[in-house]
Point group: none
Chain length 410, copies 2
């Protein structure tokens, strides 16, 4: 079954805020096997909203509206729904009394304006709101369902969980869901997609979603079937084919990020890592220590950003620096070697490169990065060329360094 | 003038992600006096998208589409626009050659699949993309304008700023706009708002917007008037009152972040900074070196994450560590002192704390952080207590360290 969500409120059309209720609602709906196919954000405009509601009900059997149930003139959701469905709005004395009682409990008198919240679209069922004055509404319409929920998350969420979910469960045939979450490093999204699209495209079930960040591609598979077993079989079959094709480029079978995967291997082996960072200035260490418990395997290291620090903190030979330049194989190796030596770590990663935007090193283009890795059996370094700006170059360097270590460990 | 924005991509309909490009775009459009009246998120579905585009162009004279310009089968924006406008898609050899050249510069061969990105909707003008392979498109349609922008922000933003804004400015009647952008460190959003709300609330022009991140509050003022002078007078009047109230808590009068402000002072004085990071693991150095040119004043430092590194890399006395513990005034001072000494920097900042979620140090609660500062006239350290999780504690520690240095420098 497909659903659409409309978030209502002019504040959601400013540069500072947007709808986030739909993220939580989508998670709830997906669990029921319902897919969200479209999300809309509209302001406090009755005609525009009524048009959107009518169009949406023509497309999908389930429409969820959030917001616009307050007591002010700006709150137009009830009116817009009545207009879209060509139904009347009826005053409910019961709801009015409940709102009144709610104010009384707070030692206040209900304002006249709150009576707006006691109007109900003809044929709707009230959804009680223990956390606010605005009741929600549930409407069965020809060919579908429509629910009106309040905008504040602490009112919307319990109303949906406690009242709407049971109603939905009773009406939506339930399917079993099984998922896979793989992560890949060392290849771009389009190269990866060229490889695996022929594999996953023939499958409409499982659904495959691919998400990409700097040097990191996520592959999500989700199968929905009558039985757990059938869903598991499907997700295992497609997942197996994808894994066989991608091989060692897949670093995570459960969604763990690269720093966690590397960390688990090191922790299990009781080995340790140290770093020496030039153009990344500390980003590699920052990312590693983002993981609680990383102190079990990460020792620390050196931020040798200024050229002179490579000599001063790591003891690099000034002649090596002068001869080869700071962005060079010799310096990357010496940085890793010295760091391993000075920290006593099992492994040391070094990063030295030109992050840009302009090159500070004659003959070195922005984006050129040497990454060194010192291990108990020696030291090695590789050159990479990253693109698209300082921030991305630095993130790619960090990701690539972690991936080099992963390959060494596996 | 009204505009609508459609964000395209099935990943934007998952519980994990949603459209955020539209926030930045809305800010840009508001600057031109254009209001966003509706925002839509649709998946990679050509028919659904084509229907939405046609409907939108019937409502507003300006439609912006983001995403779906990639090379895969899933990227359907070009096709959907052609379908909605009933125009043909034409292959552009020029664009194909540009994409080819981009791959060649990276030492790679263009995949066959990337040819999809060389198709242009009939009558569209190409918007060059220096930051990616997908060119954007600009279309003049009866009664309005339509632009197709790539989804990744680092491609979309420069394309909009450099190419679309000038075109829009030429077509939209302009009011004069004058702005102020202040930044405040060392106080929370609600404390700040309690202080200045009585000042800005009476003004509907300029519009005041307050945004908060970890330890950093932004104050944006925007006045729109017939003349530059009238707008400048308004923004100067309100800005002056706010500055008088906040005093030295305002660290930036032009929106520059704290690391840039501190860096400019150091650069002008020809002084330098080094760091020693324990619980932040490199975040302070990473943030500083995010600024191009920071090598003029930032030397580097030590990531002393594991306890033993404080002795091993910085030469701290094991007795001091044992007696006071790693999270202590004595250790923060010794870290800063030793770092200043070993790097030769004018100033050294040290951070040692418990980032959480669980305390590794007996008697120290998660969120407790000591920050040390060594200067030519001695060393000092202060204790802070941050809240709300590991990530926020670490970010607050970095921001607070930079702010301590700013106060010392001013």
């Amino acid at each position: 079954m497909n659903a659409e969500i409309i978030a209502i409120g002019s504040e959601l059309l400013t540069p500072e805020r947007t709808d986030t209720n739909s993220l939580w609602l989508t998670a709830q709906l997906n669990e029921l096997g319902i897919e969200v196919t479209q999300k809309l954000i509209v302001g406090d405009d009755r005609d525009r909203l009524a048009t959107a509601i009518a169009a949406s009900l023509g497309r999908v059997p389930l429409l969820i509206l959030t917001g616009g149930l307050g007591p002010t003139e700006d709150d137009v959701t009830r009116d817009a729904v009545a207009q879209a469905l060509q139904r009347r709005l009826l005053f409910s004395q019961t709801i009015c009394d409940e709102i009144d009682a709610r104010f009384a409990r707070a030692g206040r008198k209900m304002a006249e304006i709150n009576k707006r919240q006691a109007f109900v679209v003809e044929g709707a069922d009230k959804l009680s709101n223990p956390n606010g004055t605005a009741p929600g509404l549930w409407l069965d319409v020809p060919g579908g369902m429509l629910m009106l929920l309040p905008g504040p998350p602490r009112e919307m969420m319990p109303m949906f969980s406690d009242l709407c979910l049971p109603l939905l469960r009773a009406r939506v045939p339930q399917l079993a869901i099984r998922k896979r979450f793989f992560r890949v490093a060392g290849m771009g999204e389009s190269d990866l997609d060229a490889l695996i699209a022929p594999i996953y495209k023939p499958y409409t079930n499982p659904v495959t979603t691919i998400l990409a960040a700097e040097g990191d591609v996520q592959i999500h598979l989700r199968a929905r079937c009558e039985s757990e077993e059938a869903a598991e079989t499907l997700v295992e079959e497609l997942g197996g084919k994808i894994l066989a094709t991608l091989g060692a480029r897949v670093y995570s079978l459960n969604g763990d990020p690269l720093e966690t995967v590397v960390g688990h291997i090191l922790r299990d082996r009781k080995e340790t890592l140290a770093v020496a960072e030039s153009c990344t200035g500390g980003m590699l260490g920052a990312r590693i220590t983002d993981v609680p418990g990383s102190s079990a395997w990460f020792l620390g290291g050196f931020q040798v950003y200024a050229a002179e620090m490579k000599a001063r903190l790591l003891g690099l030979d000034q002649k090596t620096l002068d001869e080869h330049g700071a962005v060079s194989e010799a310096v990357a190796k010496a940085m890793a070697d010295s760091t391993r030596d000075r920290t006593g770590a099992t492994y040391a990663l070094s990063i030295t490169g030109e992050a840009g935007p302009e090159s500070q090193t004659p003959g070195i283009e922005p984006g050129a990065v040497w990454i060194g890795l010192a291990t108990p059996s020696g030291v090695d370094a590789k050159m990479f060329r990253f693109f698209s700006g300082r921030n991305r170059v630095r993130k790619m360097a960090v990701q690539t360094a972690l991936n080099l270590l992963r390959f060494r460990l596996s």
